[in-house]
Subunit: 310 residues, 2 copies
């Protein structure tokens, strides 16, 4: 059962009546809850499974860091700042008490370092492999959250950083784009945003679908990481770096839509030291495309994690 | 690695400096966060593993219900009302898409029925058995939360419902004592509270430890469920119902301490229709005891889940 299918199913069941305190619900990177006194809290939950999200043998320090960083990346995608985290861990049968202690320490230290102290947890046993769920609470920025819905025809499509080849190691060490997202939302009117976890192609389609628009990306404008080039080089001539940049996923970069003028300003200044690239345009036509260097255009298909692995 | 050991370890690492917005942290049933505008949110996370928390072959409807009910029981233990939930699920390799859909539906419907609508989630694959983490957010009652710490010498020790033999089926069908906890905290000055998940003996020691006191329980006063009698009967003469009531766990009843006068009033009226029993007294002496019917007293030892299974 694919994630998208399940989320769609949950959404169809849940959409009947949304409580008034639920400002953003299922279908975005995080939910936004309005509390009785007027405070808003953003909540996201994220699961890491040994063998799926990290290789067996990965150091517990890297596993703990990734768990926290992934959840905070979801908060960043909503232009929200981290507040705190809770963790639920089922240690795999093969992990020693020392490994478990190192993972616990890594969770605590990573959470504190990334600005979302661990305030609670649950531990269990019974799984053959490590299963780790990180739930993060955050606070919306002063102008509120940014959602996947909201991209407008004529908007520029932008991305931070460089994409592809994350499995070379970056998927364990990336820094969530929290500061970048807060600066972005503070300086500009951002219409839609997502973090790239499933892959640029798939996540671009998420924005398109939620916003009821199309996205046309220019292949030549997509910033490709060195890792993507290395991976493509290893796999021979039928592979290419752009395929990795489009489909690998786990980049945890920000993909966002805003006016052309704002996009130019963001690309010129960068965000909190991170480069920003303008990679496409939003169209009223709901079909999404990729413009190839030879001038042809092809339908943009979700080639990210959802497509490849399920 | 036992849960207690890990929590103690995390606590030792985390206790160095607690953020000012963290009113209650690791070591209670849930954390309490103060938001910038003054709202408070209570958060708890709880993991369910197939084979550990429910038998393989359990209906997905029962699994989904239990996951939500367990998390809300933690909120009830803090005298907090449920607000919403998020779920992270890794479906076991053997579960069909239909089973997964039924579980998703059960999570949604149970959460709604118990007053904590599901507002987000994450799904994954890669575990051989089902791994399900439910995180619940709640709101403190008007007088604030009740913690494990706070029991005072001279207090009465009380419990709702009847204990033991939960594995006969009640562990899948119990109703979290939300209404009971809210009525209790509304009518009385409750000094300390916990929900009985690990077993009466172990959870009584949790209150004793956190409060820096001792608890002396009267064996004859402990309300024993019919299920405990049935289970003891099956196991022959060396077993007894009181052992099940003390040690089985998964009762999800409320164990709480308050003045003798308040305890008598609560026992006379019951709480939201649930019976209340006065089962012991809080002592300044930090050792905890069980008073046997023959007048002897024995040290109270944690015979609950932590002791038996690890």
């Amino acid at each position: 059962l694919g994630e998208l299918e399940l989320i769609e199913y949950i959404r169809s069941l849940a959409s009947r009546e949304r409580p008034t305190w639920l400002e953003v619900g299922i279908g975005d990177d995080a939910a936004v809850i309005r509390l009785p006194g007027g405070d808003r809290v953003v909540v996201t939950t994220d699961m890491l499974i040994e063998g799926t999200h990290f290789e067996r043998g990965t150091a517990p320090e890297a596993v703990g860091y990734k768990a926290v960083a992934r959840a905070l990346s979801d908060l960043a995608a909503m232009a929200s700042s981290p507040l705190c985290t809770v963790a639920a861990v089922s240690f795999g049968a093969s992990h020693s008490p020392d490994w478990a202690r190192r993972l616990s320490k890594a969770l605590l230290e990573s959470a504190e370092k990334l600005g979302a102290p661990l305030v609670g947890g649950d531990t269990s046993s019974g799984t053959a492999v490590l299963s780790l769920t990180l739930t993060a609470l955050g606070l919306p920025g002063p102008k509120g959250v940014v959602r996947r819905a909201g991209a407008r025809p004529g908007d520029a499509v932008c991305v931070t950083g460089r994409l592809g080849g994350s499995l070379m190691g970056r998927h364990l060490t990336f820094k969530p784009r929290t500061q970048e997202a807060l600066e972005l939302a503070g300086r500009f009117d951002v219409h839609a945003m997502i973090d790239i976890s499933d892959g640029l192609s798939t996540d671009a389609l998420h924005i398109a679908q939620e916003s009821g628009v199309g996205l046309t990306l220019r292949a030549e404008a997509i910033p490709i990481s060195e890792d993507a080039c290395v991976m493509a080089g290893r796999r021979g001539p039928e592979d290419s770096p752009i395929r990795h940049a489009l489909n690998d996923g786990e980049d945890y970069e920000l993909l966002f839509c805003l006016s052309q003028a704002d996009a130019v300003a963001a690309a010129q200044s960068g965000l909190a030291g991170a480069p920003v690239s303008i990679i496409g345009i939003v169209t009223a036509e709901k079909q999404s495309f990729i413009l190839c260097p030879d001038g042809s255009r092809e339908p943009l298909r979700g080639g990210g994690w959802e497509h490849l692995k399920r």
